[in-house]
């Protein structure tokens, strides 16, 4: 199972999501989109738009499932925590 967290360094819910995953010993990758520059940033934004149909964070991707916002209930379900 792969878990990806797209976040912003400025966003409280991204911090909460990160902490929640860490507290539950979930292995995940994280990309803080606002810290990127140039093409990397544009590509990451395009990816988030494609995944979530918007530019709101956090976006958590569990395999093919996309969760927009810090939705503990959905994360819990998908990761069987």
């Amino acid at each position: 199972m792969s878990v990806m967290l797209y976040g912003l360094s400025t966003c409280p819910y991204c911090r909460m999501t990160r902490k929640y995953l860490e507290d539950n010993d979930v292995e995940f990758d994280i990309l803080e989109v606002d810290l990127l520059e140039g093409d990397e940033r544009a590509e990451a934004i395009a990816k988030v738009k494609e995944l979530s149909n918007g530019t709101s964070f956090p976006v958590v991707v569990v395999d093919d499932e996309v969760i927009v916002g810090f939705n503990k209930k959905r994360i819990k379900e998908l990761l069987s925590l």
Binding site: Y13, T55, S56, P58
Partner: protein, 221 residues
């Protein structure tokens, strides 16, 4: 000469959290919102906004990303409520939770709760005091362009778009229960959207008034 800034710089380098609160509170109240009752969370979000003010020149939402397109980015300057009225009314808060609907007592309970709202939502659009008798005003609610009209103490909402030539009805003239289109004088009854031209009625929306706020019901799909 240095390069022109794409966005006019707002506030001062020494702007504080208290300044932002004082600036935003009366504005969001007119939109039907107040600061979250969780003061610690409010300070956390506003601290992030001050950092963004420092680095970008404006108080962008800390939970949304700037794309570099000035028109798009203008929609995520805090408070961004006018651009997401239907979604936020469905969530009872703005995206990041800095603001909650005036009627919500405990904002802490809403933090992090994101279940995409669907179905009918009553969206606060204006204070009763902001719409005098005999007036009609435009409001954009999600994808809906709506004209909100007042006749004495009754309130009505109908499509803002005239079926004749797409004129904005909210720029028209009220005559009793009718609005006259500003361009060619077509008349619509604000109570049911009917017109004096066959097959050209406009959509209407249910309206309610709660605690001095006019609310329009739209459906989120």
């Amino acid at each position: 000469m240095s390069e022109a800034a794409p966005v006019r710089r707002r506030f001062n380098p020494d702007t504080t959290i208290e300044d932002l609160k004082a600036y935003m509170a009366p504005f969001v109240d007119r939109l039907g919102y107040k600061f979250n009752t969780d003061e610690e969370f409010v300070d956390e979000v506003l601290t992030s906004e001050l950092e963004l003010l420092e680095s970008t020149g404006d108080v962008f939402c800390p939970c949304r990303v700037r794309t570099g397109d000035p028109k798009e980015d203008a929609k995520i300057v805090c408070p961004c409520i006018p651009f997401f009225r239907d979604q936020f009314a469905g969530l009872n808060k703005c995206w990041c939770g800095l603001f909650i609907l005036n009627e919500v007592e405990d904002g802490t309970e809403l933090l992090g709760v994101i279940d995409e709202p669907t179905g009918p939502v009553d969206v606060p659009v204006f204070k009763v005091a902001d719409l005098p008798d005999g007036q009609i005003r435009h409001v954009k609610v999600g994808r809906h362009d709506i004209a909100v009209a007042r006749v004495a103490d009754e309130f009505f909402a109908l499509s803002n778009v005239c079926r004749h030539a797409f004129a904005p009805l909210a720029e028209g003239f009220m005559d009793g229960y009718q609005v006259m289109c500003p361009w060619h004088g077509w008349r619509y009854d604000v109570r049911d959207g009917t017109t004096d031209h066959p097959g050209s009625d406009v959509k209407t929306y249910p309206v309610s008034v709660v605690d001095g706020e006019i609310r329009v019901r739209v459906t989120i799909r």
